[in-house]
């Protein structure tokens, strides 16, 4: 954290904000505030330069054409790659997750270059993955079982420079036949789960905040988010 507050940069709500992605921003603000940590959120449209001093960068989901536009603009801007190099936290969902990788499939399946921040390759899968998804998170992240809703036709494979976020218990996940969901490397984390993911998974939200502030955070009352997580897990697994 560069100052006394967490600076959250929501990247391109004009292009990448299809699945309640605003929820991830709201939940980070709220969980920080409940611990007395102030936040400053910048909703950064795609005609603006990426701020260099963000602590957390969020990317959401989007349709094919907006996804391609977002990738082009972020490549030209270069600011997000710079942020990744200096160790900023990046959390990306669905289309945003794919953009972080080396390439992804466009509307006709054509390869579109990504940002190369995360060692993943995405293409267009055979079928669309739509529905609830549940996964057990990589043990070193110390985050309980995660729940979300997926809606994508991507097939994403993880290279040696990244690790799977979770092993799928129910649902499709990365769609490359590996049985994995999402990927992370350092403080860059991507997932196909919206729902939005940080709302349904307080543990994941706190992981992002912990990375940003560089220390453990005291527990807070998760009442409704916790109940929501339990309810969704029960709905899928029982």
């Amino acid at each position: 954290m560069s100052s006394d507050r967490i600076k959250i940069v929501w990247i391109y709500p004009d292009l990448l904000s299809t699945y309640g992605d605003q929820g991830n921003t709201i939940v980070l603000e709220r969980r920080a505030a409940l611990r007395g940590i102030p936040t400053e959120t910048v909703n950064m449209r795609s005609d603006e330069p990426v701020p260099q001093d963000g602590d957390i960068y969020l990317l959401g989901g989007g349709e094919d054409r907006p996804q391609i536009l977002a990738a082009q603009r972020l490549r030209n801007d270069g600011g997000l790659q710079y942020a990744a190099q200096r160790g900023a936290v990046i959390f990306a969902v669905c289309a945003g997750f794919q953009i972080l990788g080396h390439e992804f499939g466009g509307e006709e399946g054509q390869p579109v270059p990504g940002l190369g921040i995360l060692d993943i390759h995405s293409g267009r899968g055979q079928t669309r993955a739509v529905g609830e998804v549940v996964g057990d998170v990589s043990a070193e992240l110390n985050v309980p079982r995660i729940t979300g809703f997926e809606n994508h036709q991507g097939a994403t494979s993880i290279g040696p420079g990244a690790k799977p976020l979770a092993k799928v218990i129910s649902g499709i996940g990365n769609g490359d036949g590996s049985g994995f969901e999402g990927a992370y490397a350092g403080r860059v984390l991507g997932t196909y789960m919206h729902g939005p993911a940080l709302v349904r998974n307080p543990g994941l939200a706190d992981l992002i905040l912990t990375w940003a502030v560089g220390r453990q955070l005291p527990p807070i009352d998760d009442s409704w988010a916790g109940r929501l997580r339990e309810e969704r897990l029960n709905a899928v697994l029982t």
Partner: protein, 416 residues
């Protein structure tokens, strides 16, 4: 009807029987099953039934059913009008609507956004009314940019169809602009989160709101808002000839219904029904398939509002009783609702602060988490009945999404 080939007449008759059986069995109004059987027997049935009629297709993300109803009401001076009044808005419903009004020379058909190209190709509709496009049930609906692209190709291939389109919605404008003839209607756009970018080139759209008017243009290419033929300012409309008319007599509440009424006026003007004749007919519409209905129950006046997506919630909030009027919200996530509730996070619920709020429905915990984050105080209830009994006698607004709305309607009597 008697001009139909024998096979088509048989298809219509069997479809009608099936619809009747379905109604008797209490399984809905039968329009879907009837149409399905008819189309199975004669795949060309929709084209045959549409022949020699003047048809209007009505499509949008929100307001289709209501606007279809308003147009139908305003067309009564022209004679009998066939219509799918109950929201069965796919070809099966269109077949039923036309088959059940064999002598009607006019038809007004609500059409699902995805089916516009197919239904336009099969019916060659005279008029296509296109109102708004926004995110809706992403787990089953088409991506809207893609959808608008399909409208463009369909309209280009249908040069005899006249389009009535809302030029305040950039995506609708783009979708309509390949049509050979268009009446542009400035019907307003309140939900703008899906139109920050130019549909033509992807560049940023610049907007200029002057209170009176709301202009937009692309910063990078030629694409800009067309000059409107019809306009709406508050509750005053301006017709193409410059005359103005008040919409204060409208029975349906809110700015969304003023937009719907304006579209209806522009449509019926194409058939020669002038605004002064149409307006009193629009005012006769007081509720549409249960929407906006007020039911009396245990001394409470419960008004039912249907909202299926973020843009719809914005319009529902617009018609709520002023604070501290109580409101009950009910959310389900069954097939017709969309099984993904993430859109709740696109709705700004802070407007509900300072009111008593009750939360019900199968996905009430999703809504509870959302309201907690928006710092809206609320009470969780098992069903709407609990909310009704908890409020003091008087008015209660209920906002629900599709299946939740139907459940409540069934509970309190299906008043149309």
């Amino acid at each position: 009807m008697s001009d139909l080939p024998l096979r088509s007449q048989l298809a219509v008759a069997l479809g009608r029987t099936a619809a009747k059986m379905s109604r008797i069995a209490g399984r809905g109004d039968g329009s879907v099953i009837g149409g399905r059987i008819g189309l199975r027997l004669d795949p060309e049935l929709l084209t045959r039934l549409a022949k020699d009629r003047k048809l209007v297709l009505v499509s949008a993300t929100n307001g289709k059913t209501t606007t279809t109803r308003l147009i139908t009401s305003a067309m009564t001076p022209l004679g009998e009008v066939a219509t799918n009044a109950f929201g069965a808005n796919m070809p099966t419903g269109h077949v039923s609507a036309l088959a059940s009004a064999p002598t009607a020379r006019y038809g007004v058909l609500e059409c699902d956004e995805k089916y516009v190209p197919m239904v336009l190709a099969e019916t060659g509709a005279n008029i296509v009314a296109l109102m708004n496009l926004s995110r809706d049930q992403m787990d089953r609906a088409a991506e809207i940019w893609l959808l608008a692209g399909k409208w463009r190709r369909a309209l280009e291939a249908s040069p005899n169809s006249h389009v009535i389109a809302n030029c305040d919605d950039p995506l609708v404008t783009w979708g309509a602009s390949t049509a050979k003839s268009v009446t542009w209607v400035a019907a307003g756009q309140h939900w703008r989160e899906d139109s920050w970018c130019c549909p033509e080139c992807g560049g940023p759209l610049d907007r200029q709101d002057t209170g009176e008017d709301s202009d937009w243009r692309c910063r990078q290419c030629h694409f800009a808002r067309p000059r409107p033929d019809w306009a709406l300012h508050g509750d005053l409309i301006t017709a193409p000839d410059g005359r103005t008319f008040g919409l204060t007599g409208l029975s349906l509440p809110g700015r969304a219904n003023r937009s719907n009424a304006l579209i209806a006026l522009a449509v019926v003007a194409q058939f020669g029904v002038p605004p002064e004749q149409a307006l009193p007919l629009l005012s006769q519409v007081t509720s549409v398939a249960g929407r906006y209905t007020t039911v009396e129950h245990e001394g409470r006046s419960i008004r039912l509002l249907l909202s299926k997506n973020p843009a719809g919630w914005l319009e529902a909030f617009d018609v709520l009783q002023p604070p501290p009027g109580p409101v009950a919200l009910s959310i389900n996530a069954q097939g017709p609702d969309g099984r993904d509730t993430s859109w709740l996070w696109d709705v700004d619920y802070r407007i509900l602060r300072g009111r008593p709020v009750w939360v019900a429905g199968e996905r009430r915990i999703d809504l509870a988490a959302r309201l907690e984050a928006a710092e809206v105080a609320f009470t969780l209830v098992d069903d709407i009945d609990q909310a009704v009994m908890a409020v003091p006698p008087g008015h209660l607004d209920v906002i629900a999404n599709y299946t939740a709305f139907q459940n409540i309607r069934t509970r309190y009597g299906r008043v149309v």
